[in-house]
Symmetry: D4
Subunit: 253 residues, 8 copies
């Protein structure tokens, strides 16, 4: 019931002033005390709730998983340790854990036929794959068709150039790289659609846990690049999905 609907009902006497005031303040979330689960989220935004596991106390995680199960919602949780997975699967049936991306999920990965559009995830080195997979699987969880192009760091351009079609055909490219993070600039120069750059904490010494790669990407001389937080594969998968949906859904009009 939106504001106008409430007001109409008040006017017509269907509800009282008190009820109207209550509706206007009603919380579109499920208050668990320590957390306010946004259970209407998928209906409102088209994106179901995702659980970020890092640093959450066990007891809170268990309660959140149980609530999601009760509500019959899909489960998708990022940054989970193997220990958290072992714990949670004792409480909720059917969980799966992917050691590379560190994702716990229960909804089957969509069949390729159900996934729409195209997002291409490009990554620099083998060590960047966990973040790249977090991005790729997040996008897939949200219904996006994903292509993967891994280990195409800029020190061997021929590897990247050999996969040019896959990169150029995407509605959005996610460029994942650590160390110096130059991959985003090179990719940005090769495509006409947006590039979401994800710096990773891969590297050593002056990489400063990804800060150097972040700075590289923010300062990119190429156009059409925007950056998310270090190791934030989830965030990149999310925004890439938003862009991909704009491209695909509108095309059905």
């Amino acid at each position: 019931m939106d504001t106008r609907a409430v007001l109409e009902k008040l006017k017509s006497g269907e509800i009282s002033v008190d009820e109207a005031e209550g509706y206007l303040r009603r919380q579109p979330f499920d208050d668990m005390g320590f957390a306010k689960l946004d259970t209407h989220r998928e209906i409102r935004t088209g994106f179901p709730e995702v659980v970020f596991c890092e640093g959450k106390p066990d007891i809170y995680l268990i309660k959140i998983f149980e609530r999601l199960e009760e509500d019959g919602q899909p489960i998708f949780a990022t940054r989970a340790t193997i220990r958290q997975y072992e714990l949670l699967k004792a409480f909720v049936q059917g969980l799966e854990y992917d050691r590379v991306s560190r994702i716990i999920s229960r909804r089957k990965r969509e069949e390729a036929s159900e996934l729409i559009g195209q997002v291409t995830v490009v990554s620099g080195g083998t060590a960047d794959i966990p973040v790249a997979e977090e991005a790729a699987q997040t996008a897939e969880f949200f219904g996006t068709k994903v292509e993967r192009v891994y280990d195409v760091g800029v020190s061997g351009l021929h590897r990247l150039l050999s996969t040019l079609d896959t990169v150029q055909n995407a509605n959005c490219v996610i460029a994942v790289a650590g160390m110096e993070g130059a991959l985003a600039s090179v990719v940005g120069g090769l495509v006409k659609n947006p590039v979401i750059a994800v710096p990773t904490s891969v590297g050593y010494g002056a990489s400063m846990n990804g800060l150097s790669a972040l700075l590289t990407m923010i300062n990119s001389c190429a156009n059409g690049i925007a950056v998310v937080n270090i190791d934030n594969g989830y965030g990149a998968g999310y925004i890439a999905t938003q862009i991909n949906r704009l491209a695909v859904r509108n095309s059905a009009k």
Copy 2:
């Protein structure tokens, strides 16, 4: 002529090995010695060449403007000082200068009827307007319809909430803010389409010329936010245009 076309012509004898090699290496740019102007750019990417004036020696700027004029290309130049404008208008006819956005241009701003889709530029304070205008005018130069919502900093939420429709209807929101840069997170929580966040160097003390705002935006707890460089209104206008085109053009299919 793409690689395959060259090869086909070589096979058929239309061109020689030397010619083929030449084509394969030919430079899709105009080498001016100090610069390599990308004159085919608009044809290839749909985005005409834009000149970044800051720090360019006068003599180079003049030559670039003259070349663009010769080629009959539109002129759009960012980060120009009034002094640069005074100089350049002596060499090229019909230039206009906008003191707020510091843009020199010659192509008339598109009529609203010619502009497509919708990008909304939201800014935090009066001092952020120059960067917001750089973003807005860049997007308009590239053919995007732009709505402006200015001075809606998070310390007075009612100002932002009063313009909610304009913000929520955009294919892409550009959120421009200095100081603590919290605007991006708040906007991110209100819309379902992507937000491109632009930190500005507005502020003092620990704002560190925009670095604080950049960090705020990169660490945003909201989904669907990606960040460009400090004061990079141009970059935000560019990527917002890419997203807006995906939404609009595909919808014509």
Copy 3:
């Protein structure tokens, strides 16, 4: 005995020059060699001594706890590990440990009827709760009535707005947030009393262990916000108590 009292007694011959000199230099603390316990503290300032456990060697902690017990003082110790608690309860009776806030205490939490005024603790995410609880329990230990409003991050403004009364009625609001720390600015724009902002080390990547949130809060565009150290729930609870006392106690005049 203050300076003037000492001088009067010296003048009147009640004490000798040597005694006077001694009084003037006397230490209002209990010198334990490795520490100088401020045992008169509560009388002088209204705030009993609180023990900061992090990094203190076991042997020092034990001696401090034993001394506090001997002196019949209340015990309240922050940043304690479960290991420290296990150790200390073997030496001092009746200690309790709260795993969320990591506080060891012996004085029962005040009954609501004994607590005065109102401080509201607002926190951004579930992972910020330990710091929020350190702030809340510290304020309660010092006699303040505390309201808790948790998981109201700025990416879902409706959650915060639904609790507006609790936030606006406080004599002082403590805003606890990690990641980008934008909560303080939003709260600051909604209330007329002071906001004490506590950045937390919650986050990853460019959050730099809370430094980003600290910078956000220090640069806030909202009025009436001042900031304490990262994760310093204790410090926020302390200064909020000072403010709350000014509001309440004076009102009894």
Copy 4:
């Protein structure tokens, strides 16, 4: 008219649904396009609008000053250059400029008899006085009685100790210091009421324009200290006024 009042009137038929909806969305500000002046601010919060001049284009400043004059509001503007003052006084009558604090104002400083409570501004060195004065005059503009204790840096403790009463009697102390910023910790150890610490950009070399002083104050080992941005005298005067009002006004209940 608050939400309930609107609903009551709608119920009683005094206003229509459309009117009610309008009221609920109405903007409690004056939209000037480039700025949204909060003209009801003093009524709502007890703090009149203050203009921050730094970086604002001349044309915007003039319009804001003219609007404030039209509305018969007091004028108080911080961070103004002498050039801005010369410009503005050609448009608005009766402006005064204080070269030390860089404040333009039109409302006479309150008579001591009208000012309430006590805030003491303590500063470290002669070069910190401009920031200290911005804090002091801001608090006075908001109706606070202010005591000034200047040039009492920690390298000469006797200077600070000689003014102890003035410091200890304040409802709130504002401690202003550059260089190493140790003044806040020392003051914090001497008083029982809150200390608002203001780092200044005074210093050279590793002072990094006030960042070192900011870090010192944030890390203070003393209790009851919270920090505002570097050189933010205005912010300190504001929050000190909030605290002082809580202490004084409530005491009248």
Copy 5:
């Protein structure tokens, strides 16, 4: 006369103990009080003395130039302002000033036939040319044959690839780039000889005056890259000359 020669002469009675001690301590420089000019430098190292003008007081610069002239040495001075040049040419005949590289020199640039080997200077953008020219002209001054490949930033890879031979044939490549500095990594992946990377202060916002480019280059994932200071074209020209000499001179053995 080296140590052994001195000892032999002492042994043979050609020189006294005092003379020997004197020789052993003698300064292979010309002590001007404020500076110790290394006049034997070219004989000893093959590199003549070069003057760094930035920040040197006028009076010192004049004396150094006069001394070099007296000694019949070539003059090559970097980081000179036009003002310094105007001043110095009043004292020393035949000086020339290059406004792009900001170099004052008196030795004619070597004819191509006299220059040896090959160093290629690659630069990212037009604004990087001053640093690139400082590198190129320094190397030429030291006798190196230099090829220039400018404006080949990584956002348009085809521009770089079109000049591949010039880059791959060099004994050493100097890669000059600001903003995100990704050029070094891309070049490093294309050549088999060493790359000396020079970050420039070109950029804005988070480029932090070249620090971002420096970090990018230091973290490069490509092999065979080493980095000099921001804007240090001179240093790159120097070490590239050392490498080029090793390649060329030895080849004459």
Copy 6:
């Protein structure tokens, strides 16, 4: 087969257009999915593939080692833990592990007679030896003759000066130092050939894990110094080999 050769064959009918296109796009690497092993690398660049072990998942490491063994390639892997070595030797025969340099290798260290030229590795303190050895053994693996001069920190100059010949005779000096990293500057002033400086993370407090040493080396007042990443012994050994080869191989012409 280079581009021209492909074109010639196409022209002459030896290969079809499809084959030609295939050749032109063919990947000179072995795509393992998670990694693209550059198996032609040694032929093309003279440097065999080296494995960087840090952070690589076990399963990937095993597959890479097995592939290298299958291909009959030498094995040289840096930054390996003892645990990784224990794991890998169960899959691949004949591996050796050096605990100081943390290198796993299978190719015997070259006999001195097979190694060419001279690179001297100079290190500051005992704790820098692991990085120095990574540099030295990398250079040796690539065929370079290496001299070691260890524990010659600048606080005891006589130790460095006593080994001057070994330092001055090298085609390239690698200077390895942590803490303040001053060694590079001192060495740079003593030699005429290039110095590759390697900052190490040795130190504590304000050494910031090697960042201080990196800054020292980048700012060196000596000529002929270029810097690689913190602890990057491998990178230094690589570029020193490039320089040494230029000096030696060309001398055979």
Copy 7:
């Protein structure tokens, strides 16, 4: 009159309680409102008051100079601009200005015969001389005999070694250097008495206005080095004087 003396006089009736209290609180400084001049300073500490001119408003400077003149005190003021000097000499007779060190003084430099002990000031480059002179002249003003050894940067060790006696004979060495600041470590390894290191802001790029040199010096591997702020020649001259006095004055016992 110290505390005991006051108490004795009170006891004996020479002074009243009020007088005693007054003495105990009396301020050993001259309160000028904006500054508290420490006029008894030289008597108490042996160091006369020195004026730091940077950033002080003209009106305050004039008043301070006039007061010092009235009191017949020597005048020594650091960090003065030529403009400040021109202004001040109109108010106070006999001032002299040294353009290199930027010091305004009125007390003649002591004759060498009056100066005691030995402090040696060593500096790295010509551009460091202003800071070195501030240190040297400060020490001389305080009565110290100073030797100067300039332009002995570590890239040419022979220059430093040729002056070894002057360096080793000092009671304290002041090492002044910018860029990489390695001079302090090298000097520290050569002497047995304390070294006070002064980083300077000389340099460019990653020197970060002296921060790099500061870090180098703080991390020095040599013993017996302590560091003052960037460009703080005054501070170094002060502490070197303290050390020199300990060495000389005690030796007269």
Copy 8:
């Protein structure tokens, strides 16, 4: 044998040219390959060799300890873990370990009667004691009489003031403090002899492992303060000993 002595002997025929050259180059250290032990150090400088244990491989530590024992030298080793101690005492007799300061030693602490002069070590909090003890015991090992004044942080000035004599009578004060590090400034204002400030890594949040305290101390507004590295108690004990010796030994002349 110094240079002149060698030359005299050569002249007189006592030694040959070869012998002379050998002497001039002879190493005043014991080359252990991985380390160059400075065995003549105590004779030359008055300070015996001290071993820094942190990060040294076990095998190197054992060899160094054994060599020191063979040479009959005293053993004093800092930053040792309990594990290192357990290991080393199996190889060398009579070692003792102090868990607070983490020092392994074999020379008995000097009797008070043998120690000279006075250095006072002042520390801020209980957690700073390990660093304070490293400083104190180092100074004692080098023959200095040390007074300890612990837990006198600036938030409780009376604690520091109550020990004023002990602080003011020292030839040198070592001020050890973490968190905001303000102690150094306060102590600096109270004494006339030099203060060596030691920042510690004690603190949390924005203390950044001691960097904040370091910056505070470097920026101190008090005179006569110089700073060593974070947690560098050893370095402070060393330089304080140098200063104390100058004061005491010379006084015997």
